[in-house]
């Protein structure tokens, strides 16, 4: 009972020190609950079964991510509790000189951890439950579903999960604390506060050399990522620049801590002004002792920025793409005249037989009254010409590109389309119609990398041969466009040629594009249902018919976007909280040590205003240093993300960067302010 009173008293007394710890725990618990309780928020949504499947996938992914998150939070909590322990060494020393056993001290810590754990869990869960109510609006918005009703939802599984995960974390903290205490020596505990800092001097020349080296290797890593087109053919190649980046970041901070001071000292009139000498010495020693954590924090911030901005822009561009890339309600397509040689080699006899009839015949056989349900029907064929492959269309540039992209297949047959057919489709898609001379062709494509390759060949005026007739490019670059509706820019190129050119060509595919013959959404959904029923129709399954509808594309794309966004925000926020909390704890533990220094400054007559200004500068620079380096990394990181997500489109980047910045300012800035005011509080107390 005595120990309990002591523990309670300690928490009350050192609330200031615990404030940031509490704040972080509560935030951690709340975020953990919110993202694990999302499934209960989606129950109220009116969604189709395919969206429901995506939601289920998302929820299981989120719970997987939660395990990872719990590791990060667990690490943070152990780190934080060790900081707090250090602050209290003298207190423990006094207990021990009074004859208290290490066991009792461990018990005090145990009770404290339980109390703090309980309070933070209760407050965090409470906060999480409240915030998660508003999440349902967000979730509905993400899945573009309508909210059928609004009700207060408690997710018991999520509550239990949160309590379970955090209990384990607190248990580990308790074990760590006990081990820590049992290793302590009384003399160290009592003298803990008396250690004066030794200023480690770094050799300036080594600093300079390392600084330059780290800058060069960073530049090299950036170059590896973005420097040239041939860089990063395979995903695993990103590991090298990441490794170089991490090491270089560490060396950068190591050398900078020595360099900054040396640089500022050179500007004597600035260095010997007000408290500047003190301020910069403090900053330099702080960075000096935290090079490792600074680097880790910097890299975490970098990840946060990249994850948040990419996830958000992905979601936005998916939505934007949809309007452009799926302008019609439905498209059927089937491969025609499949060669007998494919029998039992991917195709059944029935399917090969089926490939001999047209789509319209198929639909009639399946009793889907397309004349009644569809309007604006465009029925067309695409063709291939035996020897016209990508290799040929690239002409003389083929060997160059083959060397550059050794893994790309160049021997696939090019898809051809008649000018009149393409124009019919273009009219339907609201695209510009094309015109061609007798021996001219145009390539329509929208997949950026391939467009770049093709444009080079087009610039060379590369001729293609169909039926012994030569054709030359009418325009020296690809025309933006597509034939097949999709959620992304994935058209690697269709060649539009004059109608006569394809008279003897081999029809490759039959494509039927149409809108639903309906005046409102409800009717459209009814037709959609009829079409989707084909998925269960046995006769339909025997054919080679396939198709996509606008609604399907939309659902898949919305679901994918929402899933990535949720996971991105979840991880991003956790990384952000972790890095900000680490900085904050470091700063606060320093503030306690620094109290004496500020007391000295006061004694020699330094104004409070000047002291606060110095403190503000110290914390600001301490928080800004990793952020600035991270921002610089992010410029390249985000560009890289865009590069690999290029098919998703990048038009929405600015908006998502702004949102990322907002989240960053809110959380990171919030931690900065709390740290500043807590530090001020600590150094101001007499």
């Amino acid at each position: 009972m005595m120990l309990y009173k002591l523990s309670l008293g300690n928490i009350k007394k050192s609330f200031k020190d615990y404030a940031i710890y509490f704040f972080t725990l509560i935030l951690g618990v709340a975020v953990f609950y919110i993202f694990n309780a999302i499934d209960s928020q989606t129950i109220m949504l009116e969604v189709t079964s395919s969206t429901r499947a995506i939601i289920d996938l998302m929820i299981s992914m989120l719970s997987g991510v939660s395990v990872f998150v719990s590791f990060i939070l667990g690490f943070l909590i152990i780190y934080a509790s060790r900081f707090l322990m250090k602050r209290r060494h003298l207190e423990f020393g006094i207990y021990m000189t009074l004859g208290m056993s290490k066991g009792s001290i461990s018990k005090i810590l145990l009770i404290e951890t339980i109390l703090i754990g309980l309070i933070s869990l209760i407050v965090g869960l409470f906060l999480g439950i409240i915030i998660s109510q508003t999440m349902s609006i967000f979730v509905a918005n993400m899945f573009e579903a309508s909210l059928t009703k609004f009700a207060f939802v408690l997710s018991y599984p999520a509550i239990l999960k949160t309590i379970g995960y955090f209990s384990i974390m607190y248990l580990i903290v308790m074990i760590f604390n006990t081990i820590n205490i049992s290793k302590c020596k009384l003399i160290d505990l009592i003298n803990a506060s008396k250690k004066s800092e030794k200023v480690k001097l770094k050799n300036p020349i080594i600093c300079l050399i390392l600084f330059i080296l780290s800058c060069i290797s960073l530049a090299y890593a950036y170059y590896l990522v973005l420097g040239s087109d041939e860089s990063l053919q395979e995903a695993s190649e990103i590991l090298l620049p990441i490794f170089i980046g991490c090491v270089a970041t560490f060396v950068l901070f190591w050398s900078m801590s020595g360099m900054i001071l040396r640089f500022v000292k050179k500007i004597k009139s600035f260095y010997y002004k007000d408290l500047n000498s003190f301020t910069f010495r403090q900053i330099s020693s702080k960075i000096n002792t935290t090079v490792m954590s600074m680097s880790v924090i910097c890299i975490m911030l970098f990840l946060t920025i990249c994850i948040l901005s990419s996830a958000l822009s992905l979601k936005n561009s998916l939505n934007a793409n949809l309007k452009e890339l799926a302008p019609v309600d439905i498209q059927f397509y089937k491969t025609l005249n499949i060669d007998e040689s494919y029998l039992n080699n991917g195709y059944t006899l029935e399917q090969i037989e089926d490939s001999k009839i047209t789509l319209k015949e198929n639909l009639e056989n399946l009793r889907l009254d397309y004349k009644k349900y569809f309007k604006d029907i465009v029925d067309l064929n695409t063709y291939t010409s035996n020897d016209l492959t990508l290799e040929k269309t690239l002409g003389s540039l083929y060997s160059k590109f083959h060397e550059k992209y050794p893994f790309m297949t160049f021997d696939t047959a090019e898809e051809l389309i008649k000018l009149s057919d393409y124009n019919k489709l273009a009219r339907l898609f609201n695209k510009e119609e094309l015109a061609l001379g007798n021996n001219e062709y145009i390539i329509v494509a929208d997949y950026d990398t391939v467009v770049d390759i093709r444009n080079e060949a087009l610039k060379e005026n590369t001729a293609i041969v169909i039926d012994n007739q030569k054709y030359f490019p009418k325009i020296k670059e690809c025309v933006d466009g597509f034939v097949y509706i999709s959620s992304n820019h994935i058209n690697t190129g269709i060649i539009v040629v004059p109608d006569e050119a394809l008279e003897n060509a081999h029809p490759e595919k039959n494509v039927l594009t149409a809108n639903y013959n309906a005046s409102n959404e409800e009717e459209k959904e009814k037709i959609e249902e009829k079409v989707l029923a084909l998925n269960e129709n046995e006769d339909a399954l025997k054919t080679v018919l396939s198709g996509s509808t606008k609604m399907q594309i939309k659902e898949a794309s919305v679901g994918l976007g929402a899933m990535i966004t949720f996971i991105g925000i979840y991880l991003g926020i956790i990384f952000l909280i972790t890095s900000a909390a680490l900085l904050s704890l470091k700063e606060l533990s320093e503030s306690t040590d620094n109290k004496n220094r500020y007391q000295m400054l006061r004694k020699i007559g330094v104004d409070e205003k000047m002291i606060h200004k110095s403190l503000f500068m110290q914390i600001l620079i301490f928080f800004l240093a990793p952020l600035l380096v991270a921002l610089f990394h992010s410029i390249f990181g985000i560009k890289f993300c865009n590069k690999i997500l290029i098919t998703m489109g990048t038009d929405q980047l600015l908006a998502s960067i702004l949102i990322t910045a907002l989240i960053l300012v809110l959380i990171y800035g919030g931690y900065f302010l709390i740290t500043y005011y807590s530090s001020k509080w600590i150094i101001d107390e007499k």
């Binding site: 000498s277 003190f278 000295m600 007559g605």
Partner: protein
């Protein structure tokens, strides 16, 4: 001699109504320009409280303290800080040097917070470091210095602003006898050559013997006063020891 500090009937109480401690009980005395005064007393006699009141670190309960005619008990907030940094110089028992700064920077800090230009700071530091014999250690950090060297750096910081009054709180308290002697000779030097007015608090008779006047305090009251006059330091030291003995052995750690 011109009166620089005038202490007029000051009192300082600690505690509350139920348990009142009188740390200073009606003390009055004057300090003239260029004097080197030592205030002696046992632990708990109120000497440090007196110094804290003069240095505006603490407030008096009643009475007035005038420094060159200005009543410093009326100062508040930032004007207190301004007063401290412009009119006073401090030397503390535990040096109070910032361990992250070099000696040079520690000394410079006293001037830079007064917005003195760097050129002037540099000139003044060169000047004072020569007088105090710390020229060679200007680029060292406190942890690289001996106690005596640290205290001389602190003394340089105290004197460099040309303060009206230097306050020293047990300046030799953390020093060995050789370092203490060197420091006291430095202070004597500052007092004689630069006419610095020094007010020192100590319980050490040897340290006091370097002063030109010694004020003895017991239980918050002035108990006795000794003036060196034309005595040699040895004679003055013997006189101090006599008073200490008279004080009733309370200063049994005097030697």
């Amino acid at each position: 001699m011109e009166k620089i500090l005038e202490i007029l009937d000051i009192e300082k109480y600690y505690g509350n109504k139920s348990s009142l401690t009188k740390a200073i009980d009606h003390i009055s005395f004057d300090v003239s320009k260029g004097e080197f005064i030592s205030i002696m007393g046992a632990s708990g006699s109120g000497k440090t409280t007196l110094l804290n009141c003069i240095s505006t670190i603490d407030r008096v309960t009643s009475g007035h303290i005038y420094l060159e005619g200005q009543d410093i008990t009326k100062l508040k907030g930032n004007s207190l800080n301004k007063f401290r940094r412009e009119e006073l110089g401090f030397i503390f028992q535990d040096f109070n040097l910032l361990d992250t700064l070099t000696s040079y920077e520690n000394i410079a800090l006293a001037l830079s917070i007064q917005n003195v230009k760097f050129k002037e700071i540099d000139k003044k530091i060169k000047d004072i470091s020569e007088k105090l014999g710390i020229k060679d250690i200007l680029n060292k950090y406190p942890y690289q210095l001996s106690g005596g060297q640290k205290q001389r750096v602190a003394a340089a910081r105290a004197i460099i602003t040309n303060p009206k009054l230097i306050l020293a709180d047990e300046p030799t308290g953390a020093l060995d006898s050789k370092s203490a002697k060197m420091l006291l000779e430095s202070l004597e030097n500052l007092n004689k050559e630069l006419q610095a007015t020094i007010l020192m608090v100590t319980h050490d008779a040897f340290t006091s013997s370097y002063a030109s006047r010694v004020i003895f305090i017991k239980d918050g009251k002035i108990f006795h006063e000794l003036i060196k006059g034309n005595d040699s330091r040895k004679e003055f030291f013997d006189k101090i020891i006599d008073v200490v003995t008279l004080l009733g052995g309370n200063l049994n750690d005097a030697l």
